[in-house]
Structure formats: structure tokens, C-alpha cells
Assembly symmetry: D3
Homo-oligomer: 288 residues x 6
């Protein structure tokens, strides 16, 4: 109803910003509030707004990186207005905006929404960088060919990435839930990396200096730290582990990222949104 | 994971029940846990399970109707297993099961899910009863031709019913939210009925002894009574008003019904699910 | 942390909008997110943001007024950035912005925050309109001279208005909680008006065609409809009553308004914010 | 753990107060935090503490009664320390303390806990007043002979009262849930009174000037007003109805009362506890 | 009210399953939804249903055990229908069903309910296996002789086990809360085992190849991971620790188990029920 | 409203206790329920009551310290009645009561409220012990000179302590959020101590046998363990770390302490209040 104040969160703002706003080297944040294929507990569509609001309680300065938001160019392009229900046009819209950001030499940083939006962004980045490496932090393998007949389901996000990237180029960290078939593939491929800084460094070193896209499904964190997510899975990582994994990525060629699966209404305490916002801050500072 | 205990809520149970279970005259309850096109707050997919669990706290006996569940034949066919995302196959699955129930001379009673499932049930009932009258209790007109391009959206539920039924056959009670165009149509058609027993009786009497399908979007209730729904709208009806409207329908040819848009996780107090269960009990006793 | 997307909700946006934005006849919305003197349950500072977000689920069109937001000029000036703790500078900041809006011939519509912000707005409006009438909808009399020594407390809001307006010019509707002294004053003054349309019309008619400022403390509603407020008091009004009271004000000289005491985090179901947003929509359409 | 600050809420305080504290004519408040037989949703044991804490947000003055707490003698005897599980000793403990209060010419006012505590208090009062009349406000008839074999269940509370009082002496208002048998008895006995002031006055007048015990099961209120109760039942009364029923009792020989079934943790908004506290305030002022 | 759909969760289903269902070697799951003696925060009665519903979000496959539910025979016998209040018949009913399962050569796996149900199951298993060893994971020693006079209280669960088993046969891991006397006994007996895989292995090795019953009070986990429990105690274990302790049990003679004290309504985020369900999955796979 | 039962939590009780109650060597607990300058999420004013209520679920005995509350003299002086809004008189009131406790040779233990109350207590203790050392456990540096113009803001708490104590006398542990300037000062001063027992012991040993005041901002814990706090910051400590830090303080000259920033209504599960109560228990046993 009240549009004026929410322009920045909507399409009009987005339109007006797009042409002029994307600056070379700028981190270009945008939301993809879609949760149409969520199979367990919906609500990830509310993630981007909750994350922005929760960010108010955080400082701009990162002691770990000794770097503050004032040191980077950050543009918030607002949220995509996405159709409900059918996922294919959603993936297409994500790909289009990502391509636009890349065309302006910006660095895309997408806030989900469920994981099914990731293949759209990866497709756009891979068009520009055919030797792209994707680093996935996640509790779930997301390697199903389809889920109840839907190929664009969140449960197939990495399978869709593997449609366009070779198996070796997709590193999967933190996976602790999947089918027997998914784990067999993970083990055989050697791309199920232990979520430890040294193991990630080793895997990346072996791949050489290739551009990297980071996708963080927030359920990689233990549910104690991230209760507000659609499919919590006990046994996840904590903040220090995440911070060390990010250390392993810093100084490499990070060309884009996303942070998905925050379902804030499942966590009335708000700590999930705060954690997501801190993840985003650290990624902004590592990207920019 | 634990399938054995949930058989009755799933497809295996449904399959095994279908052939034998539908008895002539039986009220055949089933869930349609879909919320893929919800535009504001998702969660209606969790409605059927919450409603069944909340029903434990209610008596089987209705003082108003002086009738108890033991006086009717009630079959619970469990929940449809529905694809996520795309709504068209959902509507088709609802239509198929409703047709099957009708083929066995049962009385379908569907638990939503969002309102977009209703056109599937209405289509099946209208195939059998071409002179069908639909009585809608709802806060929203749901008369949009499409919503963000999706014709099967919950915001288009009654428009889809009007694709197969004449304008005069769709009575809309409790509507208090819509576009200027929707209200213009409501006023011009004379089918926006005041939610008062006498007005409903008069409208039904004018239509003669035609079969009736009742669709209850639970947001017809004021949010005070029904906080757990996706699009709450202040100014709704209360329980006595609902009970009197149902009085106006009893003794007529009720041939099917649905109760939709319970989003239980939005209401931690649980009163929404209890109210929904009481609505369902009264409809079972009126139908059976 | 993420400032870009929230500019419209913050001071930078406000600054840039002020000079150019206020148009003659425009309804100028702004937030005053202060709750420093709340005595029972804090959180009203979160009201403006929650109200804007909840407004997404509402239509722009009001069937009762047959008028939509597109028919008025609505400007959202964002939120004042207010100091924490001490209330006096808060009241001053509210007065200053209200005066600025009035100087541009705009119509101020303030979103609280707690009720202590109202005297600031009333003071600015009364400077322009010395014959101002204030219509208060509230559960509490707010007539204390001071509260625990603080004269700018929310419990003193109407007393502060009475410092600058005569007793006859302040109509108090819906009051059902106060001290013996407050009720004695209410009864003796004849300004404790029964919250019924006819009584409000009669009181306003007796005052002649004077400019009116409307202050709505949302706890005037029964807690069933408005659980998300700091000091809920059973026995309040419902939506139809509010709508009729607003009918009594429409067509008169409404020159400003506020809606205060939404404490959204106390109501996880979100119905309080939706009701507040509908109150605001109806006031915008009545003002503009 | 922290006993000192909670002395007044515990047994040590109770012991020390008993001998000296009960003054003739004093309203003697005490808690009976028991919910061992709750069949649907437990938590009524937390009622007394929540009610006391919520009372902080209410004024001492009742505009309806034009009377304040300073006009009566109110003693808070703290909470009984009750065994868990087995209900019989709980009922006995309630009876013993009630008898002690009556022996000191005090007026007992018990805060539940579930309804199963009421027969203990009624037994003590009936020992002193054999012509006692019990007025029950409740959604449920509570007339089962036993429930799953337990005669002291909350579902049998009024049946137990009828073990010691004649059928005519137990008036039941607001009942809207029960078995066919319970409603048959209610109708046949003529003691199912419509919850309207005139009907209650008529029934009491017919009984003559007999002493009255009032038991308020808070689920007599509609769940919209009282979500925080174990067995919510749609279709209940609102505050004005309650206030008028209490008007019908004022000026008669009220000799004791209880307010039961507040389960505060089911209602995070806290409005249930506030309503319960206002009910208690009005009863204190009517009793004292 | 709606019985048909809930047959599997109730006694009719149970009856029909018992005779035929228990197969040799099958893991026989059943619920014991009792919380009558809970002293702090009730609600464990809702545990079994919440656990089953939460299990939907988990995979059937355990990467740690490389084993899936399809590899074992799992029968869900539904929930015992238990009297409210008095604990002794509850313990008896648990013992009876456990004995029946054992008579059919099944492996009992009980879902609580509070810890007071465990002695019933242990008694039945010890009748069959007099050399039984009980491994308890718990925050609390549960060694009180009685609690407020009740010998069947949850606070006495292990004391009751020690009535029928020798001190050496009861290993207690994770205990971090108790009285001075309980800790003195723990230390003196040497049966307070540090919750570390090696220490558990050593203790079990010293006992030889004896049959083992595992009882998991979910409050052994830190409240961060398991907020939904009646008596949370800071300083508990995490998922990796639990998984390693279970590793120490696998390959030994596990003959029965229970998982108790999930109080799901205390944790609106649902992560407690998900963790409980994962605990149950791992135990099923270790048992079957 | 109900004062009698709450005397111990209020000023009358406090007055009557002060003169007589403070015994030499007694731990004197009191609440300072103030949150007027909270910048993100208010509610710390509700901390003291929630902490006392949650303490019911904890044992009196600490296995780690092998010491129980019966071994110390504990007095609960109830809560200060504090003005709302303006912080300066709050700080003064805290200082006055702390001085009174010290005058009676008691050991002050304050429950916040927000961190802005700490400088009042530290000032009183430093008057008695000019060589005081303050040990701060906190996520935030709290070293701002002022915050939005307010020098008594919670964000300035340690800066205010540094107005009266030398830089070396304020040890800051657990700090992981602040401005670039705050971290520069922390690093340069060497008083940002790693939250590890050995590091704390080393720092304290270097300072010699000086009296110590411990201030625990509960957000030093990770939000997983302490969601109920105003400004949660991921990456915090857990219970074992806290317990070891307290080990480093035991046996030294602890002369006072506070535990602040519990905002219980943000955490419906209640685990935050339980953790706070356990922190308080361990500090009582270390102090007394």
C-alpha cells in the first residue's frame, strides 16, 4: 500500500537505478524473494527484507578483515519482483539482472529466497567466466535430477549448476544430508570437501587461479545458530568455521556470491537474520 | 522420515482408501496442502495437518445442530501429494480426486491450502451439477483475471469459477477488500451479498432448489478470531455470524465444500486452527 | 549496516526530500520511532517500519470511502532519527518537522512511536490553527500532570496538549482506563465522549467548523484486534466502530493526524500491524 | 534458586502470613498452580504468576464500579505449593486453605490452575454456607462423571460440585461445548443460563438472597480475547458481556470466587494475562 | 474430533497393529505422551506428534552410518492413550506394551513424554535381560528417592531404575545438574561417565557383552540446540558429541531405547523437534 | 495492580529491607530494570523478573564449584524503581544503592537492565576501592565517547568507566563488534584480552592482588545460547568458556558484579533467562 517509502525495495527503484547505478567494481546487492518450491517450511521470500532490517544492529566495521563498508562501493538494487508459483521465469529474471550487473562490471551479491535462484546467477556468471568455480556451503547436496517432477526445485540447485559446469568445478562443503545416491556421487567425485579452511585452500589451490562464485545456503550453519531456515539439519558449522572458510576465499578471484534460505518468520528471536546479515557483511568486504 | 505413522496423511493411504472407502453419502475429507501462489505470507500448506491436530480439543457434538459426528459417515482420505511451485497440475489433481469422490456418491470436503485449489473442486462438482451455485465466504473478491500473469493464482479463484459458472450462480459474502474494478463488478452484479442470514436466505430462495458448493476462505473471519491466515483483513465476521450463515445453508442441497487459507504457523496460540476445526465440524454435520 | 536500501527510512532521504517534496495538499507521512518513556512493555519504536511492511498485504482501494491512494498525493518522508532516552528533544524534533510540512501546505500524518510524540505535532498545528480541536481515540486518559517526575511521558500526552489548548477543544473517545482523578476530570468536563458516531458528530457540530487533529492511540481497539501494543486494555472498540467514527470526521476540516503505540514485536501473528496499516490507509484517504 | 525475592510467591511466605494475615472482610487472593489433568494443552500452572505480573499494566481504579483497590482490603497469600501429578491431594490442599481463610472471616479468591481445583474451594465454602449457589462462567459443561477414569479431572469440575450441592444451586453460563449427555442435562435442569445480564438476574432472584460463589473459567471468553487457555472454544463472550454479568452479581452476597485456566505461555502477546488480571480486579472490587 | 485421519496415532490403530504387527527384529516405535509430574515447564506430552511431523524434513539416509530406513524394519505402533495426572498407571502401561513388543522379539523404541516413563520400559526389558545395562544421556541425575512425595516423578527416573538394577549397570553421561547428594553418589559410584566416546567405550568394555538399553533425555543437549525441553540446563553436548557416543554403542547389543522430554511448543522455530527426529533416526538405524 | 505479592519486587520492600538487611559478607542482589537508551531492540527492563522466575528450574548446587546457595548469605533487595527515559538519574540511583550495600559490607550483584547502569555501580565501588580492576565480558567495546549525543548510553558504558579508572584497569574480553576507532584503542591498549582462561589469568596476575568488579554483558555469549538480548552478535562464547573464565576469577578479590542485557521477551523459549540465571548462580557462589 505505502509505496513511496518502499520504492527502494521495489521495481520502480530498481528500474531507475539500473542504468546509472552499476559502477565498475561495485558490490551490487539485490534480493530474489522467491520460495515457490520449498518442500518443508516456506518463508524464504521474506529473507531479503528481514536481512536488511537486522543489519541495523551490526557495525560497518569487520575486526577480522580490518575493513569497513566505507572502504567498498556498495549498491543496493532492491528486490526483483518475481512471479509466484512457477520457478522457471524466476531463474530467468535472476539471470537477466545478474548479467546486467556483470555488464556494468559490478559484482553481484544476491539475497534469497530459496536455493533454486542460484542457478540463474551462476548461469550468468559462467557466461562471462567459462572457467568458473562454484563453492557451495550447504547442509544438503541439492543434487537431485528433479524433485517431484520439478527440475528447478531448490533440491536440484547444484544439479542445475552441474548442467553448465564440470563436476570438478563445484566444491560442496558442509553437506550432511542427502540420499544415498547423492552421497555416493559426492564421495566418488571428491568434491565433497570437509568444511575446514585447510581443505578448502587445498582444493582451490589445485584448481588454480580461477574465478569463484560463492553460494551460501544458510542451513550450512547448525540450527542452533540459524533456526530461521526452511530445512534445518543438526550438526552444522558455527561462526568461527564460516569465518575461516571465508579467509580461504579472500585474496582469490571472487566474482559473485549469494546468501539464501533465510526464513525469518521461523525465528522470532531474530538471531537468524542477524547472522545472515553478518555473513553478508563479511562477503561484501571480501568481494568489494 | 517416519512414514508408518503418517500413512494416513500420505499417498499410500490415499490410494488404498480410494477404491473401497468412498461410500454413498459419506463426507469425504481430504487435504490440498498447496500455497505456491501466496502473495503475502505463505504457510497454508500446513493447514490440513494443523486442523486435524487441533480438532482433538473439540467435542464431536454440536449443540447448535444437536448432531454429532457419530451421526454421519466421515472418511478422511488424507492429503493429496502435490507438486510444489506450478499451480496448474495442483488444480488438476484436486479436480481428479473430487470427481472420484463424486463418482462414489460421496460428498467432498477439501481442506486447503490456499484458495487457488477451489476452482479444481468446483469444476468437478459443476461437471456433475451444471446448475451449481457457489457460496463464497471471504474477505477478498478474488476476481482478478490474472495476478502477475498467473491465472491460477489465489487472487483469481472466483474468476476461474466464473469461467465455468454464470455470474448469478456465485454469491460472495463478507468481501471487504479488492480493487475498484472488483467492487464495481460486485455491486453491478448484485452478487456481493451482505453477510447476514436473512440476506443469504433471500438470495438462495431466489435461485430455487439448486445444488450448492460452499467455499470458506477463513480470512472472512476478523483477524482477531483468525490471525493464522495469509492475508488478514480487519473488519471480518465472528463465530455467531458464521453459525447463522450456515443455518441458512442447512436443509438445502449442499453437495460439497472447502475450507481454505489456514496458515497455522502464523498463530502460535493455536486458536486459528481450533476455529478452522470447528468450522469444519459444523460443515461436516451440515453436509452429511 | 545496509544503508543504501534503507535511505528512504532514514535521515539522508528525509533531508533530500524535505525541501522539494512537500506539495500543497499532499499527505506527508513520517515516522517518529520513539518509546523511551514506555512504562509497561516497550517496542513502539518498531511501529513505523512494521506498519509500512504490513501495508503490502492491503489494497489501495477503500470500499467504504470508494477512494483509492491514487486519488490523493501521498509522500512518505521516512522516519525522524530520534535520540534515545530523553523525551524533550524528541517532542521538539516532531514539532519542527510538522511545522515544516505545514509551511509547505502539507497535511502531516505521523506514525508513532509512543503517545508522547503527539504533543509535538499538536503544538505545531496549533501554532497555525489556534482554534484547533483535537480528537483522541485511546484506551487511556493520558491526563497525568507528570509520571514519575517526567512531564513528557506517554501517560501525560493529553495533559501536555491541554497546556496549549482549552479543555473544550480536546475530545477523548474510548477512554476506559485511568486514575480516579482522571475520570473525575473527564466526567466534569464533558469531553469524555462515548465512542459512537452520533455522539462524536454531536460534539463536533457543537464546536462549529473548526480545524481538527486526530490522534489515534491504537490501544483504543480491543486487545483481541490489537494485541501488539504496549498497554493493552480489555473492552475496546472494533473495526466497524472505528470506521463509523472516521465517517463522522470525513467532510470536516481534518488538518493533521497521528497513529501511535503499535508495538509489533508483541504480536507475532502480525495482525496488529495490518490493522494499523488499514487505519492509516483510511486516514490518508480522509485527509487527502 | 533465588528464593528470597520469591518468598511471597512460595510456601514460607504463606505459612508466616496465614496466622496473622487473614483479616475479617479482606479479599484473600491465592494461587493454585496445578494443571495435572489437563487433556489438551497444559500450562495453567503458570497462570498465577503471569496474572500478577500482567496486573502491573492496569490501573487500580475501575471506572465501571467507581471504586479502587485502595477501597478494599486485599491480601495476597501467595501460591499453594502443590504436588505434581495426582489431583486428589491438590483438591484437599485447596479446601484446607479456603477453610482457613473463611475461619478468619476472609473472602477467598483463588487463581488457577486448571478447573479441577474449584471443587476444593466450593467444598470449603459449602461447609460454611450449605445454601450456597455456584455461578459458573465457562465454555465447557464440565459435567462428566469421570474422564479416563479420573474423577478429579478438570472435565468433571462441576459434576464434583454437584456431588455436594443440589442441581438448582449450580448456574452454568456461556456453555457451548459438551457431550450430548451434558447438554441434555443442561437443558432439562434449566440451569444452563443464557449469558445475558437479565437472564442471570432472573435466575438469581428466583433463588432468593443466598450466598454466591463465582467460578470463572477464562475460556468462557472467545479465543480472540483469551487465546492463552488450554481448551479454547470459538463463540465465546466479550468483555462488555462479562462486565454486565458481574453487574448482576454486585450487591448480592458474594462469598468467594475463582478465576481459572489461564495458560499464559500459549499467548506470547500477553493479552490473555491482562484480561485475566482485569477480571480479577473487577471481582476483587465486587467482593471486598 | 477427526478420528479417521488420526487412527494411526491412537488406540484403535494400536490395537489392530499389535497382534500382527510386531515382527522379530523390527524396531517398534511408540509414543508415551505423558507429562503429569513435570515440575518446571510442561508440554512433553506433545513430543511424539511433533517429532513425527518434523521427521518429514529429514532424509531416510544417514551418511554417518551409511544406512537408510529402508534397510531396517520400522513399525510405528502409534501412541499409548494414557491417563492424565497420576503417574503409576502410566508406568504400568508403558511396561505392558514394552513387554508385548519384546514377546514378539521386537526392539522397543519409546518417544516421551517426560522421563518418568522410562522405568516402565526398563522394567520390562530387565525382566527379559536381567544383566541389562542402562546408558543414560541426560543433564540431570534423576536420582532423587522421591520428589514432593511422588516416587514416580521425572526427577526420580534413574532412582527407580536402580530399584531393579545394580548401581554398576546404570551409566550416566552428561549430568551437569543435581543436588549435592546426587553428585556425591555419582562420584562415589564411578558411574557418572564423561560424555566422551572413549570414556563410554571403556566403561562398556569393562562391563562385557551385556544387553544395553539407551535412554536419551534430550536436555543432555545444550539448550541452544534443544530449547524445546522442560528443564533446559546450559553447558550441554552438541550433535557431533552425540553422534560419537552413539558410535560407541553401535555394534553392541542394543535391545531397546527411548528419547524423552521434547516439549515442542516451547520452541516455535521447530529445531528441537528436528533434532529429536534426527536422534531417533540414528537410533533406529543403530537398533534395527 | 496486585501490589501485595510483588512487594519484594518493588520499592516498599526495598526500603524496609535496606536498613536491616545488608549483612557483612552477604551477596546483595538487586535489579536495575532500565532500557531507555537501547538502540536496537528494547526489553532489558524485563530482565530481572524473568531471571528470578527462570531460576526456579535450576538447582542450588554447583557441581563445578562444589558449593550451594546454602553456603553463602544471599539477600535479594528487589528492584530499583527507576524513572523512564532520561538515563542520568538512573545511573545515580544505581550508584546510591551500591554505595549503601558497600557501606554495610555487602557484596553488590546487580541485574540489568541495559549496560548503561554499570558505570553507576562501578563508580560506587571505585570510591571504596580506588585500585579497582573491572573485568568486562561483552560482545561490544562500549567505548564510544557518546552515542547520538547521549553520554550515558549503553554504547558508552566502558568509556564512562574509563572516566574514573585508568586504561590498564579495564580488561575487555570477548569483544567482537565495534568501530574502527574502538578496535584501534583496544589493540593499542593491550586491554582487549582473548576470552581464554590462561590469558585472563595472566592479565590479572600482572595487575597484582587488586579488587575486581565483574560486568557480564550477556551478549558475550553467542546468540545461539543467548538469543534474548538487545544486540546479538554472532561468534560469541559458550558456557564452558564462561565457566573457565570464572574459574580464573575465583579465589581473587571479587568485590562486586553485574549481569546485564537480558531481554527475555525476545526469546520465547526461555533459554536465555535460564542461562542468565545460571551465570548469576555461579557468580553468587564465587562472590559469597
Amino acid at each position: 500500500m505505502i509505496r513511496a517509502a518502499l520504492d527502494t525495495l521495489g521495481p520502480a527503484y530498481l528500474e531507475s537505478r539500473r542504468a546509472s547505478a552499476v559502477e565498475p567494481g561495485a558490490v551490487c546487492l539485490f534480493g530474489a524473494p522467491y520460495d515457490g518450491t520449498t518442500s518443508f517450511r516456506p518463508g524464504a521470500r521474506l529473507g531479503p527484507t528481514a536481512l536488511r532490517l537486522a543489519s541495523v544492529g551490526l557495525e560497518d566495521y569487520s575486526p577480522r578483515q580490518d575493513r569497513a563498508l566505507e572502504d567498498v562501493t556498495l549498491l543496493d538494487l532492491g528486490d526483483l519482483e518475481l512471479s509466484f508459483g512457477v520457478p522457471a521465469p524466476v531463474v530467468a529474471a535472476v539471470k537477466a539482472l545478474t548479467a546486467e550487473i556483470l555488464a556494468g562490471s559490478g559484482l553481484p551479491l544476491m539475497l534469497g529466497g530459496e536455493h533454486s535462484v542460484t542457478p540463474g546467477a551462476v548461469a550468468a556468471v559462467a557466461d562471462l567466466h567459462p572457467d568458473l568455480v562454484v563453492v557451495q556451503l550447504d547442509a544438503h547436496a541439492d543434487l537431485r535430477p528433479d524433485y517431484l517432477g520439478e527440475r528447478n526445485s531448490h533440491a536440484c540447485a547444484m544439479r542445475r549448476c552441474l548442467d553448465i559446469l564440470p563436476r570438478e568445478a563445484v566444491l560442496q562443503l558442509g553437506i550432511r544430508s542427502g540420499t544415498r545416491e547423492e552421497f555416493a556421487e559426492l564421495r566418488q567425485s571428491g568434491r565433497g570437501i570437509y568444511p575446514r579452511e585447510a581443505d578448502l585452500r587445498a582444493a582451490l589451490d589445485a584448481l588454480g587461479d580461477r574465478p569463484i562464485y560463492l553460494t551460501v545456503d544458510l542451513d550450512v550453519f547448525d540450527p542452533a545458530f540459524m533456526p530461521g531456515t526452511g530445512t534445518p539439519e543438526p550438526g552444522g558449522i558455527d561462526w568461527p568455521t564460516f569465518a575461516r572458510l571465508l579467509d580461504a576465499l579472500r585474496g582469490r578471484r571472487l566474482v559473485g556470491a549469494d546468501v539464501v534460505e533465510l526464513a525469518p518468520q521461523l525465528d522470532a528471536s531474530g538471531i537468524s537474520a542477524v547472522l545472515a546479515a553478518k555473513v553478508v557483511r563479511e562477503i561484501i568486504l571480501a568481494l568489494g
